[in-house]
Every structure is written in structure tokens, then in C-alpha cells.
Symmetry: C2
Subunit: 112 residues, 2 copies
């Protein structure tokens, strides 16, 4: 019976999307699993989609966000760089503070 203000934020670089909620989820799953294919499985998305997202992230970021390795013991894997870790931390922090900011604005609509 009451209104809610919802929001989505994302970071762009040169008009390309760098980071949004979906990409942050995927990066966190990579951090936990150590591989892109396992991360994709854990999020129920196809490996291809996951790869495209990570490829886009690394192409639009100033510095690498993940390090992907092919072959070798275990077939390879993917891991976050320090830059990648601090990027998702900053994103989460800003996103959360945006929610609380918007919550405070709700009264301006409820009172109409």
C-alpha cells in the first residue's frame, strides 16, 4: 500500500559499461570459486555470457580487473586483481549509500 524508490547505478568508461550489479555479482563469484566457468555455474548463467561480461569489464577498465590463465594444472582459472577487489568494494559502498539517500527522499512522494 506504500510506494518504494528503487535504483540502479553503474559505472561507465568512454560510454561503455564497466560495472553494474550483475558484473559485481559475477566478479564476487570468481573470487570465491577461482574460475570463470565455476562462477558462471554458481550464478546459473552460461559460460559464454560470463566470459563476455568479464571481457567487457577488462576492456573498459583502466587497469585489469581479473587475471585469466589458460591451460596447466586444473585447466586454468581466473582471479581478481587488487584493483578489481577495491573496485567492487567501492561500488558496493556507493550503491548502499545511494539506497539510504533515496530512502530519505521517500517522504516527498508519500506526502502528496
Amino acid at each position: 500500500m506504500s510506494y518504494k524508490i528503487k535504483s540502479r547505478i553503474w559505472i561507465e568508461s568512454e560510454n561503455n559499461v564497466l560495472l553494474g550489479e550483475g558484473r559485481v555479482h559475477l566478479l564476487k563469484a570468481i573470487e570465491e570459486t577461482g574460475s570463470l566457468s565455476k562462477a558462471a555455474k554458481s550464478l546459473n548463467i552460461s559460460y559464454k555470457k560470463a566470459w563476455q561480461l568479464i571481457d567487457s569489464v577488462n576492456k573498459s577498465a583502466k587497469k585489469p580487473v581479473t587475471i585469466n590463465s589458460i591451460g596447466g594444472r586444473g585447466g586454468g582459472g581466473a582471479e581478481l586483481t587488487e584493483y578489481g577487489k577495491s573496485l567492487i568494494n567501492a561500488f558496493d559502498e556507493i550503491n548502499k549509500s545511494c539506497w539510504t539517500f533515496l530512502d530519505k527522499q521517500l517522504g516527498k512522494i508519500e506526502s502528496l
Copy 2:
């Protein structure tokens, strides 16, 4: 060469979208033209899509946002209620303040 934080906000009511940027554009065009069909033309969207949006807005809002009339001199028309006008004003105000809020957060990412 630098990042940007972008955002979209919208208002929901009972898990239905009430107002977003697209719907606000449409409502403003109705206010200017006095009819839904003219508003749709001015935004280059089909009349059907415009009608569906306005129908959804009025169904999820607590009070009517537009008054639509069929037939008569000129065939009919659509106009905003006072509630509708104040709703889009509040939305615009909150949206703008959200942008300036996020602008202030950008340093947390640029400095990484």
C-alpha cells in the same frame, strides 16, 4: 579517459512500476499536447505502447494521474491531474538530487 557514475531511479507500488524516466517523459508530453496519441507521436513511440504505459501508471498509482476522455469535439484527449503534476515534479527533483549525490561519490573510484 575518466569514469562516470550513472543511475536510474523509479517508483514502485506493490511490485509494479509506477514511474520511471520514460513514463515521466510521456506524461510531460501529454501535458504539452493534450492527447495521448499526439504525445506518442512526439516521442516516436506507438500509440499502443503509450496507452499501455499510461494504463499501468494509473492502475498502480494511489490516485489517478491522468484523465482520459473518449469522443466529443476533437475526439477526446488526455490531461494530467494535479496529483500527476506534483508526482512528476517530485520525481524530477529526487532524480536530480540523486545525480549530484553520486557525482560527489566519484572520487572514491577515481582514486583507486
